[in-house]
Amino acid sequence: MRLLVVEDEHRMAAALQRGLTHAGFTVDVAADGVRGLELATSVRYDAIVLDIMLPGISGYEVTKRLRAKGVWTPILITSAKDGDYDQADGLDLGADDYLTKPYSFVVLLARLRALLRRGAAPRPSVLSAGALRLDPAARELTIDGAAVELTGKEFAMLEYLLRHQDRIVSKAELLQHVWSDPETAGNAVEVYAGYLRKKLGRDVIVTVRGAGYRLNPL
């Protein structure tokens, strides 16, 4: 397993390299954001350990640019910033985990193993289909860049359809995942499909007779 460590404190970076190598990883070290971005895009790493406060470009920016380029390598952010929003921002930008410095080396290893189990499948933090772009963190939906207001249930239903846009989603499945009490929700799915069609256009949600719903990207 090949890891990239992006860390500007060279003693810290050296210790990490030593420790991770001893734990069986192959480790590359980048001392600033620009070098980290270069390496992460040119080499296929299995995971990246990324500091936030870096000379050049920040760890946030590195995460954002990697995800924008379609690099889905699992990213573990490590930072001495422990504010709620520091952590939330890092994760919402597309990082997979966040560890506050100083951390235990044992915990770092365990978290890296967990990340490696999940693999590098595409995990966009902003969902899109055609002209639709849905940001679950900001709770925003745009069509061709224009914001569209959605209620909570409309948003949740569209998010579920977007996450499974490659297949038909049954009514029962939508009830199960979007409504807290599927038994009493009745014909809620039909009703909300109607609402969404009104806001997004008639053809965006296709009813497949006897099977369920499918997203039809514009």
């Binding site: 500007d8 404190e9 003693r11 210790a15 000379p55 001495a80």
Partner: protein, 454 residues
């Protein structure tokens, strides 16, 4: 606890109401008393006119030696008169008066001065008060006394009626005014209560949106108070935010070397390390610990400067020229040698970080010691020159923290200069780089116009 104290500790509403009620009660009582005095005086004056004229008429009759029976009285009708001789015998009397008994006891008659008018309730006519005038006269050669009197009871009755009205009306009026005051003060103070409740609910520890108090509409004093409080809240909020940011940054700066130390030690323990490698680990850890120590010193110094430790600093004569490594001539200021050395060190270190050539010039002019720290580095833009004085700001993003300094050097230098009544500013140096200008008030008696290069 005294009475006054008790009152002061009650609510403003109760105080105003009590004071209004007491003032009104006293005012009405004084008014009623004054009114009755004036009324009595006016009535006495009117009655006196009658008494005097009756006494005069009767005296004229006595002087003329004529005493009709009964004696004639003016049309007012209530007046009485008697003519009494020295033995107490009634010689003549008006129709309403006794023909036999003197109206007043003889000793009272004897003691009365000529022409004196007085009020008495000890007459032969009973307890009803009389207004009396006693005039000595001579009837056919015999000394007699003329007594004229007018019953005074109607004045008394009117006074009683007046008192009844006052006793009935004053409490009603006081209760009415007290209720009105209570309600008016209550409604006037309602916005104050709202303000108080809102101020109580202010949570300065909350981040983000700053709290505003409801500004009372209407009463100018209260709306001004609300606005003033809001401005104060806003200032508190800003300083709170700055403090919060500073602490968050400080936490970050302190955690980084700690994290480095921890990871180095954990990795060293977890990996088989030969004896020769341990000194390397120890040296690396020591470097981080030293960095941590410098940071702790900087933070403590800043905290002390922030807490206004200017007064706690030494106030001894310090030769800045000597501190700058330039022995002659002296440039004396009054202050703390350790702190001032630290200020110069920070400025010179900052300059060396970006430049090859650094020049320090110390001069004295117009009661000011000026230290210039010039370098031939890349310099800064106008906007950056102010920004570098903010804490934790490192303009050079491409540098790592280790070589880039803590981001506290310039803020500390400025804080020290300001604690000494001076300042640090930045400008462009003739050497092409940055010029840091320190101005400090010169100590009294130092030499003018000195200059040197270090």
């Amino acid at each position: 606890m005294t009475q006054a104290n008790w009152l002061v500790r009650r609510s403003l509403r109760l105080r105003v109401t009590l004071i209004a009620s007491v003032v009104l009660t006293i005012g009405l009582a004084v008014g009623a008393a004054g009114l009755s005095v004036l009324f009595v005086r006016a009535r006495v004056a009117a009655v006196d006119v009658v008494v005097q004229s009756v006494a005069q008429n009767v005296s004229e009759l006595v002087a003329a030696g004529e005493l009709p029976a009964p004696l004639p009285v003016p049309a007012t009708g209530t007046a009485l008169a008697q003519v009494i001789d020295a033995g107490g015998t009634v010689l003549a009397a008006t129709a309403g008066a006794s023909q036999v008994l003197p109206m007043l006891p003889l000793p009272r008659l004897a003691s009365a001065h000529a022409g004196q008018r007085f009020t008495t309730s000890k007459s032969a006519l009973g307890p009803a008060p009389l207004r009396v005038e006693v005039v000595p006269a001579t009837y056919r050669g015999v000394p007699v006394t003329v007594v004229a009197a007018v019953p005074f009871a109607d004045v008394h009755d009117t006074l009683l009626a007046l008192r009844r009205v006052v006793i009935l009306v004053v409490p009603l009026l006081v209760v009415a005014v007290a209720s009105a005051t209570w309600l008016a003060v209550g409604s006037a103070l309602e916005p104050v209560d709202d303000l108080r409740a809102a101020a109580d609910a202010v949570d300065m520890s909350a981040t983000g949106v700053e709290t505003r108090l409801p500004v009372p509409v209407g009463a100018r004093e209260l709306s001004q108070l609300g606005e003033t409080l809001n401005r104060m809240l806003s200032r508190l909020h800003q300083s709170n935010e700055r403090q919060r940011e500073f602490i968050a940054d400080a936490a970050h700066e302190l955690r980084s070397p700690i994290a480095s130390v921890r990871t180095q030690l954990e990795v060293a323990l977890a990996t088989p390390t030969d004896a020769a490698a341990w000194p390397v680990v120890a040296r690396d850890v020591l470097t981080d610990v030293e960095r941590l120590g410098r940071l702790a010193d900087d933070l403590l110094l800043l905290a002390r400067l922030d807490a206004g430790a200017a007064s706690a600093m030494a106030a001894e004569p310090v030769d800045l020229a000597e501190l700058a490594g330039q022995p002659e001539p002296a440039a004396l200021v009054t202050g703390d040698a350790v702190a001032l050395r630290r200020m110069l060190d920070n400025l010179v270190t900052n300059a060396r970080r970006h430049a090859a050539l650094v020049e320090v010039t110390v001069s004295t002019a117009d009661g000011q010691v000026v230290v210039l720290v010039d370098d031939d580095g890349p310099g800064l833009s106008e906007a950056e020159m102010e920004r570098v004085f903010e804490r934790w700001v490192r303009l050079d993003e491409a540098r790592s923290r280790e070589e880039g300094g803590s981001g506290l050097g310039l803020p500390i230098a400025r804080s020290i200069a300001r604690a000494h009544g001076g300042d640090v500013t930045l400008a462009t140096s003739p050497l092409g780089g940055l010029r840091a200008v320190v101005t400090l008030p010169a100590a009294a008696g130092s030499m003018p116009q000195t200059s040197a290069t270090a």
